[in-house]
């Protein structure tokens, strides 16, 4: 019977929509639309896809940093800039140490972990003190730390000419990583080209490694305890878990991931950007994980992966397409803002009362 078929189909469609999630579907459809538009106006598809893969890889760990924070119940880590400045600080210290290439990369990593862990611990304490308004406080904590670091960048007595101003004291706004032989250092490992699409194997493998690590973490005793505390604090407490401690651990992890994430980001970008550059960096990461299907209280590693590819894919595609169609306007940037902030707004309206 055709009627029952339509009904059955509608249920199927509803099922698919509810499992994948409305925002994910809309953004995916929009991305496909821009891709088709790009194809029609004659933009090189291989260049678009290369860019998408590269940008997804470089943003990946920053998006992954959202997962532990959301799982622990503190909501998306709007204070990601805290982790980011830790990573930046580690990078400039490594440059000052005079190392280059892989050594620079590894030293930056090694410096970031303890630094971000300590800072993340303090941040976790702060989050426990402001239960109920974590997201707002986090946003402004991130802003404040960036502002504070603006002073620090100026006053750090580092002497390496690769990153100082040509006249005066302090560090430059953008530091070329070429100078330490670290630009695209990860991207170029085992990179190859397929049908005009460049695959930055090293970058993708590195992102994949971190995905596996975070996934494993959430299957560990501590990871499970953190998730339970996030889903249902009453349940966790009744089971004898220390929720506050778990929230701190989760935020340490998130901050460390933010620090490592910016190193991966910077090497791919080719520059380390200091001063106000980290100010707004939490928002694209928050938007990405939400687009991937996470909510403000529940997130999985898969959400981060799907989200970062969709969001970055849309951004890379929309930019040249919009420029081609609406020449001379800044429409793509406006679209980016609308999508990024719109999706965050949407996710926040979905937060159920008493989500803490």
């Amino acid at each position: 019977m055709p009627e029952t078929n339509t009904v059955g189909l509608m249920y199927k469609v509803k099922d698919v929509v509810s499992t994948i999630g409305m925002p994910t579907l809309i953004i995916a459809a929009f991305w496909v639309l821009t891709l088709v538009g790009g194809y029609i106006v004659g933009i090189s598809m291989s260049a678009l896809l290369s860019d998408t893969i590269k940008r997804a890889g470089m943003n990946g760990i920053l998006v992954l940093a959202m997962v532990p924070a959301i799982q622990s119940g503190t909501g998306p880590n709007f204070a990601l800039p805290i982790g980011i400045v830790c990573g930046l600080f580690a990078m400039v210290c490594s440059i000052e140490a005079g190392v280059s290439g892989y050594a620079w990369f590894l030293l930056s990593f090694a410096l970031t972990v303890p630094l971000a862990a300590v800072v993340g611990y303090g941040y976790g304490k702060l989050m426990n003190a402001v239960k109920g308004s974590e997201m707002t406080i986090a946003t402004y904590t991130g802003f404040s730390v960036v502002a504070l670091m603006c002073l620090a960048w100026l006053m750090i007595p580092f002497k390496n000419p690769k990153m100082g101003w040509f006249i005066g004291k302090g560090l430059r706004e953008t530091i070329q990583l070429d100078a330490v032989g670290a630009a695209q250092i990860l991207n170029n490992i085992l990179a190859f080209e397929v049908g005009g699409i460049i695959i930055p194997t090293g970058l993708l493998l590195f992102f994949a490694l971190f995905c596996v690590l975070v996934w494993l973490f959430f299957r560990s005793k501590m990871g499970i305890a953190i998730s339970a505390g996030g889903i249902n604090p009453m349940f966790a407490q009744a089971t004898g878990l220390n929720i506050d401690k778990n929230r701190i651990y989760a935020n340490v992890l998130s901050t460390v991931l933010g620090g490592l994430g910016i190193i991966v980001y910077s090497q791919s970008f080719g520059y380390a950007q200091l001063y106000t550059a980290p100010l707004m960096m939490a928002f694209p990461a928050v938007a990405a994980v939400l687009i991937g299907g996470a909510t403000a209280s529940r997130a999985k590693v898969s959400h981060a992966i799907i989200g970062v590819f969709l969001f970055q894919g849309l951004l890379t595609t929309a930019l040249p397409v919009a420029n081609e169609i609406f020449a001379g306007t800044d429409l793509s940037e406006i679209m980016r803002m609308i999508i990024q902030n719109g999706i965050i707004l949407y996710a926040l309206t979905q937060v159920k009362g008493g989500a803490r």
Binding site: R219, N232, F235, Q237, T239, G240
Partner: protein
């Protein structure tokens, strides 16, 4: 005062929510100047009846009610609380609805302020008129005088003793012109004894002025001392209406409890219990909102099933929650000779005590997680079960977890599609079984079960109770079951501890009479509980 005129009549009032009858054929008449008490267990239908009287939206959005309500002999259809106020019905709430930063007069006159026009209000309308404070104080004074309250009307509410607040609530109601019927919803619940005495005297005085009073209370002594007549509701049915002169507390109590179908224990007398005390509670205080415990001492012997009963809000739920650390507690709890650290759930669970919470969906389950994780969770976190150790970290062992979950599903007959089904999509009874399964996975020797059959259907109820009995008989597990359903406690417990106002008021054997239970649950001071716990 003549008790003739019927101020308020309920005629064959019935109400059902979605086909579930909560009130059937209620007939109550309140005469002028009468104090009519209304009594019944939790869920007997008292609140529903009051909601109907006040035209609460919850009644009208669920299809209204049947039967009719007559006020002054006139059939009245009250569609909203505002209409109820217009009709002269007032209510004194159990929780005070006062604004602490306002004065007494302001609170009494809230939204009925006396105002005088001014220049601005002539242009912009009545809402901007000046408040006539002097007149408001005067009115408030009059209302307060009626109640014999010599407190200044311009005193701020904040800082007043609770007893006074209750009187101000009443003053607000009697200040409304044309008040005919005043409903008191457990007015003495939060008052001290002397405050309660004052209040009861005031209620009598109001009745003397010709106001019809509906007095809802759990306290039998109060009802006997103040009411003219009493109506007893049970399970939504009108059991009886009696003149106070023709009855007594014991009769009211047994009418209130009634003999419900009970699945008596096969052989409760022939059970031999050891004298070994497994859990000793000494002077336990628990700050659980709405269920606070104020100094309970109790010995629980090895291998027995102890029931904890009492009306809602009296603190019976606080006992288990306090010991298990879900709410702050102080006192001394000794389990098998070792003192337990209170407020530390981890160590209590570790010592071998498990808890099935009354709040299944809030505390008991991770609703969006699988059945198997829910079953394994506590054992995993406290006893390191279902874990693989690798690289100095412990990871969950899927295979072990699945094996155990499948065994539990079979043993407890949990109806689910697979161990991976989310617990949120299970039926209430099966959710409860998952909670029990989680507690059993901890391999406890002592089990606290609170409200195990709340919100589950009758068939599942029996299964859960049988399961508890089986655990006790076959594994020798000591069980403390807290429940609002007396019938359920009587069916499996060796003895039943009745809690009232945060304290133990008595311990009864399961075959004690309805009257004994009813009297104890109402905190009655008439001591009929001569039968000591040793008889149990």
């Amino acid at each position: 005062m003549l008790l003739s005129e019927n101020l308020l009549s309920f005629r064959n009032v019935s109400k059902s929510y979605y086909g579930n009858t909560v009130l059937s054929n209620i007939n109550i008449e309140v005469k002028k100047g009468e104090i009519h008490a209304l009594i019944g267990e939790n869920g007997a239908g008292k609140s529903t009846l009051m909601n109907i009287l006040f035209g609460m939206p919850v009644i009208h959005t669920t299809g209204g009610y049947e039967g009719e309500i007559l006020i002054d002999g006139q059939k009245t259809d009250i569609r909203s609380p505002y209409e109820a106020m217009q009709a002269g019905i007032g209510m004194v709430h159990q929780e005070f609805m006062l604004i602490p930063q306002y004065t007494i007069a302001e609170n009494i006159k809230l939204n009925r302020e006396i105002t005088t026009p001014n220049a601005v209000s002539r242009v912009l309308g009545k809402r901007l008129e000046t408040i006539d404070m002097a007149k408001m104080n005067e009115h408030a004074r009059k209302a307060l005088d009626t109640l014999d309250m010599n407190i200044e009307a311009y005193t701020m509410i904040a800082g007043l003793p609770v007893g006074h607040m209750q009187f101000i609530e009443i003053a607000r109601e009697i200040d409304k012109t044309g008040i005919k019927i005043l409903v008191f919803d457990e007015p003495t619940a939060v008052l001290t004894e002397s405050e309660a005495q004052n209040l009861l005297a005031a209620i009598k005085r109001l009745a003397g002025m010709g106001i019809g009073i509906m007095f809802i209370s759990h306290r039998l002594d109060e009802i006997v001392s103040v009411a003219d007549r009493v109506t007893i509701l049970r399970d939504g049915e009108h059991v009886a209406t009696k003149d106070i002169g023709d009855t007594n507390a014991a009769e009211i109590a047994s009418l209130m409890i009634g003999r419900k179908v009970s699945i008596a224990r096969d052989c409760s007398e022939c059970r031999e219990l050891s004298d070994e005390v497994e859990l000793r509670i000494e002077d336990l205080h628990v700050a659980m909102p709405g269920e606070s415990v104020r100094g309970i001492s109790l010995d629980i012997r090895k291998g027995e099933i102890v029931g904890i009963g009492g009306l809602a809000g009296q603190g019976k739920l606080g006992i288990a929650n306090g010991i298990m650390g879900t709410y702050p507690a102080r006192g001394k709890v000794i389990f098998r000779g070792n003192e337990l650290t209170l407020n530390d759930p981890h160590s209590v669970i570790k010592s071998g005590i498990a808890f099935v919470s009354e709040d299944r969906k809030g505390v008991g389950l991770l609703l969006n997680e699988s059945v198997e994780l829910n079953i394994a969770f506590t054992a995993m976190q406290t006893n390191d079960r279902f874990m693989i150790k690798a690289a100095c970290m412990a990871f969950q062992n899927d295979r072990e977890m699945r094996k155990h979950a499948l065994k539990m599903i079979e043993d407890l007959d949990i109806r689910c599609e697979s161990p991976l089904q989310q617990t949120g999509s299970l039926s209430g009874g099966n959710q409860q079984k998952v909670c029990v399964a989680r507690a059993l996975t901890q391999e406890p020797t002592f089990l606290f079960v609170s409200e195990p059959t709340r919100g589950i259907d009758i068939g599942a109820k029996k299964l859960i109770l049988d399961l508890l009995l089986k655990l006790n008989e076959q594994l020798g597990m000591t069980i403390v079951m807290t429940s609002s359903e007396l019938a359920e406690l009587r069916s499996i417990c060796d003895r039943i501890v009745i809690v009232c106002e945060g304290r133990v008021v008595g311990v009864l054997p399961p075959d004690a009479t309805d009257a004994e239970f009813g009297l104890l649950m109402s905190g009655s001071k008439i001591n009929t509980a001569e039968r000591s716990p040793e008889n149990a």
